[in-house]
């Protein structure tokens, strides 16, 4: 862990540099996989799954029986925990459905927006050692609240051709309409084009490795929307002397265990907090099963002491952390002024894991500084807004000349004529 005491503002950019992401030059690989899926459909998917996941599937689609069997395998305690989390996530996300009032621009001119769900969405849940059923909740609950009609999900099968029971339980709970045993590039390609078995979608969501990221990028060039660009997870904790060093260490470690490329930043106005947090991190690290991964991430991690809360605020807004934890007497100061962050956790008893799982907020968030321009996933991500307008003959009489003058100045005479021809009508 690297420590910086009152570093000059000009050096922040360097200090806070995220671990360099090797720009994976995977476009060629992705293009080949996508093109084969377009040409051969299911046949290509079965071949890729045999090659990349090491299993020969008889069917890509998860059957009802498989889902029922999986549900029976999930321990009751885990089931009720997932259900509780789902209720909280639903409660938070239902609040995001807003009905916008129509606008009377002037007499005879009415304009409004109608929010409509994206009809077909695809959710990608990565495989790997641990089953990310929490991501199933975070993507499918807002999709369901938005009113998406078709919610398809892809997740890679293990060597036995199965998806983890907890993932299937969560998917079933949240109303996913189709589940496919597909991972990586071939999952994204299948949802982009559709095959005999896999339904085509209009927008693809979800995390994944560099192949998935490259495939999602490629999908956008094939007319499919995606949730947001991906990057390694990160947390920034700010604390003054009201913070609790052992809680802070636990939060830093919970970020560090995600992956060796996770970034962990601690900012404080109290130099002694750096010493305390460092000691606590070392103490707690040893007990973690994923301590090797966490230790690697900690190598890149940064502890910074700044002069005052103004400096801290400036640094936070410049870094734009995915997760921001604030343990500070001056919480209100920060809440009012934070402009760049994904999700903010306030106070000593609000660990990031609460938001990762069960408090209700979404855990699919902008990393890598994208919080400067992107929001996390929400119901907004699953809808689009159509504008409507109705103009009466009188309304057009009032506004028509303005349109004619502007259209003429832009040299678009047919645009002008569409008004003129109507104004001439008695």
């Amino acid at each position: 862990m690297k420590t910086f005491i009152n570093p000059a503002k000009e050096t922040w950019n360097d200090i806070l540099k995220r671990p360099t992401q090797t720009k994976a030059n995977l476009e060629k690989v992705v293009a080949e996989v996508f093109s084969k899926i377009q040409d051969e459909g299911d046949k290509a998917l079965l071949e890729f799954t045999a090659k990349f996941d090491g299993c020969n599937l008889s069917s890509i689609k998860v059957s009802k029986t498989e889902i029922e069997e999986a549900i029976a395998l999930v321990p009751d305690k885990l089931k009720s925990s997932i259900e509780k989390a789902a209720r909280n996530i639903s409660k938070f996300h239902e609040n995001q459905l807003v009905v916008e009032a129509p606008v009377k621009i002037s007499n005879g001119i009415d304009c409004w927006r109608k929010t409509t769900a994206i009809e077909k969405v695809g959710l990608y849940i990565p495989g790997g050692s641990a089953p990310l059923f929490s991501t199933v909740l975070m993507l499918s609950i807002p999709a369901k609240i938005a009113g998406c009609k078709e919610m398809v999900m892809c997740s890679p099968p293990n060597k036995e051709g199965k998806i983890h029971p907890a993932i299937l339980f969560a998917a079933d709970l949240c109303g996913i309409t189709e589940i496919y045993k597909l991972g990586g590039t071939q999952a994204i390609g299948a949802m982009t084009y559709g095959t005999e078995t896999v339904k085509q979608v209009y927008k693809i969501f979800g995390p994944g490795n560099q192949y998935v990221t490259a495939a999602k990028q490629y999908a956008t060039m094939e007319g499919v929307a995606i949730d947001m660009p991906a990057g390694p997870s990160e947390v920034l904790v700010f604390a003054d002397d009201s913070g609790n060093a052992s809680f802070i260490a636990a939060d830093l470690l919970s970020q560090a265990e995600h992956g060796a490329d996770s970034q962990v930043v601690f900012v404080t106005t109290q130099e002694n907090m750096i010493v305390e947090v460092k000691a606590e991190v070392e103490k707690q690290l040893n007990d973690l099963p994923r301590k090797e991964i966490a230790a690697k991430a900690l190598n890149n991690s940064i502890l910074i002491c700044v002069e005052d809360v103004y400096q801290a605020l400036a640094l936070i807004n410049e870094y734009a952390p995915e997760h921001l934890i604030l343990q500070s007497r001056e919480e209100a100061f920060f809440v009012d002024r934070i402009v760049n962050a994904g999700s903010v956790f306030l106070g000593n008893y609000t660990p990031e894991s609460a938001g990762d799982y069960a408090s209700g907020t979404n855990h699919t968030l902008p990393t890598n500084g994208y919080a400067r321009a992107y929001s996390g996933v929400s119901v907004d991500s699953f809808v689009k807004k159509i504008t409507f307008q109705r103009i009466t003959q009188d309304g057009l009489k009032e506004l028509g000349n303005v349109i004619e003058i502007m259209a003429e100045a832009e040299e678009l005479m047919a645009h002008k004529n569409a008004v003129t021809i109507r104004l001439k009508r008695e």
Copy 2:
């Protein structure tokens, strides 16, 4: 114009195919321009402007004097028209600023979202024969309402090194903070990285040719967000016998004059309307200054007679038109059921040009079928939403076990520990 009478549903996909866009393989060109801008800054920009725009600039940034001179050149009638349009656009977009209520998830758990403006945005206004000052309004008014602090604008200079006065007038009216004489790839590259003169931005908006489109795509890989993917403009008009053939023809032509690749679709339940509209199009076409462009677009245009409104609705939702004009007795039927469209114009006196210029809605809309997943530009495009949460010690006592169980099942023990360590504290 190709006519289809009651075509089978299976053929719609073929009939409604958009003009094939040659996938411009411009990534290499863009990468070179971007890399030179990163290395050489302003020097590179001046060179590219000399090369591509054919003018040697002494300064990239438009000066206050230049703006004042331009304002003096704009005719008063055009000024007041632009001002009237700006008021309507402001009125419609101000309504999009919503304050979301906080959510009490349970005792001791509070979650909410805060809407914050994207601090730095870049607006691109294409050059070419006509000055697109209307696009200045459509991008900068929602940006200003959102509260963006820095709104920079790029537009290519003409051979004399000037930007059209109406563009500068509109930019000044709407509070653009910096205006640069930059076009094409170099404009997008400059806003992506920033140079000595040009300010770096977090999100880039605006239309453009295939170079601009490729550059915006490239910018997303460099960490900058963009408004949406671009494609040729398009309109679909549906009318029954309550429609007015000459108005419809004028609307179809106003789309056709945009460019040879514009797509124009007319759908009706009344076969005779096809004959009438066709005759009107031919009649009106001759009087247009841009009739050659419009005639080319009309070659790709389609007239379809369908059996009933259900068929019409299905066809509209499948095509997902950027602009949809409805002249129908059964307007309410459509309004309730349209799910894929950018902007909808209702009734005989609501021409698309009203929305293009002055009724208040935005004209930056999803083309090319993107209306299935994207909204047009709005205040939403210039903000992001940060989630906040505060959990009390009691709140965590209540929810903590759920988090622990889920974290353990995902094999993320440090996530679990961040809760456990807090629950242990008395």
